[in-house]
Amino acid sequence: MSALGEFRTLRRPAGRLSAAEKREQTRDTKAAAVFLTPWLLGLFGITIGPMIASLYLAFTDYNLLQDPKFTGLDNIRRMFTDDRLAHSLQVTFTYVIVSVPLQLALALALALLLDRGVRGLSLYRSVLYLPSLLGASVAIAVLWRLVFGAEGLVNAFLSLFGVEGRGWVSEPDTALGTLIILHVWTFGAPMVIFLAGLRQIPRELYEAASTEGASRIRQLFSITLPLLSPIIFFNLVLGIIGSFQSFTQAYIVSGGTGGPSDSTLFFSLYLYQEGFTSFRMGYASALAWLLLIIIGAFTALNFWASRFWVFYND
């Protein structure tokens, strides 16, 4: 919202430039091009180029070792009869729909708590942010496997209360739950963004509300949440995009299988298995595009729905 405004003021009015100014502008343009080159190389070399290649591969039978054979719409037809694809979509949707709101709610709650002026805020902020830095790493996924294993910390803790635990990561009904908890645990990144957003809300509004006798709850719903809604929206969009692409945690926790019994078969893990384990890179490419379309559709839906609940204070 405010970034757009700044951008407008930065843009100089066109025309009426002196020759010296024009020369300077040309030099600026050249400098910009030089500075942008590494990024452009990256964009075309490792993003756009491979995307075009994968779009072509999506219509081929490609086993990695021989030249791809063009097969038209075969890969797309295959999707409609692929039970594991349907299953992996179900697993992924469950994961996204449960873990993203939970994570955002926890992040928002903690941000509200920290925003009330805790002593040593920067320490808390850093400590709570830490899981976000570690959460996607292989080490944490390995740790998770141990913590939620049959002889892990969770069961040791439960046994203190006489509750008999189970192999949380190795049973189909609970394995996905442990991954959802892992995702929720990485609430630090949205929390920090929420904190910054909370700082932007003018204090006078709260003062005025207090004078008028509005309760804290009332202030939360009438001032904080509406003014924070663009930030909530931003975190929601990023959270959904990110968790649709989750891979590392499921790969490590299930040993690359998506097991037990396919209960943690995330879409990207299935895509990986098709491409690199079953040598069906053509089909895997088609799946990658399907994921892109799904994420695009979700994001578009989000933007459409945002009109009804996101409040821009322009």
């Binding site: 994968s54 039978d61 990695l64 192999g167 049973e171 040993g255 990986y272 069906r280 890179m281």
Partner: protein
């Protein structure tokens, strides 16, 4: 988090693109007949999987090779079994397959059929395979052409932790002629005697070697000569039912406990940590288990069978192979390294039985005096079995390389009661059959 995942996806796409660009030129190029060794400096890459002990042995063998051929530098690449084949697929797609690779029969046909491996008859001027004998070499042929040199063979066996049996005062049945019931009874008694502390047996899991032995024991086979699936769904259902029976009787740990150990390296397996007392292993790995668990005494015995089972269900499975890349720019040097690994008895002494009972008789003679107790036991077992082994079945066909992944998945469905053994068996055969047809 999103950043990492996205960059991962990007890297994947990059690999796919690299594959697309390079697939056209590299893989399947026409090899040179009888290439000459270079006089200049040459660097070749050498790729294998295995535990730490094997890594050290192999690095030592490389040192010997480099001393003998100072102008050749061998660059080692090694990893655990998990991840080895994923990396092999990506490097091969990028036209960058290592010059020499350790191979497994699961993947041999998939790579040879698609032109990724060097036809070794083109380097017969350098690579001498005569020590191995034709029958052994047959296991390295795909459609009649030799693509890989077997290192040796191994039968399957039952490893028994005798320390645990003694500790809990459970007598072992006569394992020279034992039935599945004998095994289950002994295992159940051990579980009971330990109060559930340990379990009697770790059942088969996703291993296609034990499935093949099971099929042969029950008069069937996994694949036929044409490379099609040939196993009766009832046989496969019986295999899984056997596993369920072990779990139900308490002989084996629960499905969840078993699942938790899937894919762990050998030194973290239940057998090594003393959580279970028996399991089915390739005999060649016996020493590795014994070395990883020095507190226990292990014994190696033959599989149980039903009383009416015909002998000959065991077979000598090629434990692993050496293969060269068809894209190698130094086929002569690659062949020289394989020749060294196959024929130099110092290599045999270094490797011992780790890569199976050596196929080269000179290796066997060289290592016999150097073996420790567990090595002698493994060798004695394999020699005793040599009277019992039958014909070696055809190797895993192209398109079926993922058999163990698929097997593991349906195995879990059965263990967690999501499918009956019979349903899972039919679904498994359909899925793998489709995959083989698509590759053919």
């Amino acid at each position: 988090m999103t950043h990492r995942v996205r960059s991962g996806a990007r890297a994947g796409l990059a690999a796919a693109a690299a594959g697309l660009l390079l697939a056209g030129c590299g893989v399947g190029a026409d090899p040179v007949q009888n290439p000459e060794l270079s006089d200049g400096e040459v660097t070749i890459t050498f790729n294998w999987w295995g535990a730490d002990a094997r890594t050290q042995q192999t690095l030592d063998a490389i040192d010997l090779f480099e001393q003998e051929h100072p102008n050749i530098h061998v660059e080692p690449q090694y990893s655990d079994w998990n991840g080895y084949w994923d990396r092999m697929a990506t490097t091969t797609a990028a036209g960058d397959m290592p010059d020499v690779s350790q191979f497994d029969q699961l993947y041999l046909a998939s790579y040879a059929d698609r032109g990724a491996l060097l036809d070794l008859s083109t380097v017969a001027n350098i690579l001498d395979t005569s020590a191995l004998g034709d029958k052994m070499l047959d296991a390295g042929r795909v459609d009649g052409d030799l693509y890989a040199v077997p290192t040796g063979g191994t039968t399957n066996g039952v490893i028994v932790n005798t320390t645990l049996f003694e500790q809990y005062g459970v007598p072992l049945p006569d394992t020279s002629h034992w039935t599945w019931e004998d095994m289950e009874r002994a295992a159940t008694r051990l579980t009971e005697a330990s109060g559930g502390e340990v379990h009697g047996i770790s059942p088969f899991g996703s291993d296609s070697f034990s499935l093949t032995v099971w099929a042969r024991q029950h008069g069937g086979r996994l694949f036929d000569e044409e490379g099609k699936l040939a196993i009766d769904p009832d046989l496969l259902a019986g295999y899984w039912q056997r596993e369920l029976d072990f779990i139900d009787s308490g002989a084996a740990p629960s499905a969840a406990q078993l699942t938790e150990k899937v894919g762990l390296p050998l030194d973290q397996s239940d057998l090594v940590t003393g959580k279970t007392a028996m399991s089915f292993i390739p005999a060649g790995q016996f020493s590795a288990y014994q070395a990883a668990a020095p507190d226990y005494d292990f014994a190696l015995v033959n599989w149980p069978a039903d009383s009416d089972t015909e002998p000959g269900f065991q077979y000598l499975k090629p434990s692993m192979y050496w293969a060269a890349a068809s894209t190698s720019r130094h086929p002569a040097e690659a062949a020289l390294l394989i020749d060294f690994l196959t024929n130099d008895t110092r290599v045999g002494e270094l490797f011992g039985l780790d890569r199976g009972e050596p196929g080269n008789p000179a290796f066997r003679r060289a290592i016999e005096p150097t073996l420790d107790d567990s090595g002698r036991e493994a060798l004695a077992f394999t020699e005793a079995m040599s009277d019992e082994v039958g014909e070696t079945p055809p190797i895993t066909p192209a398109g079926a390389s993922a058999i163990e992944t698929v097997l593991a998945r349906y195995n879990q469905e059965v263990l967690f009661g999501e499918s009956s053994p019979r349903e899972a068996a039919e679904a498994f055969l359909n899925e793998l059959g489709d995959s083989i047809n698509a590759a053919g």
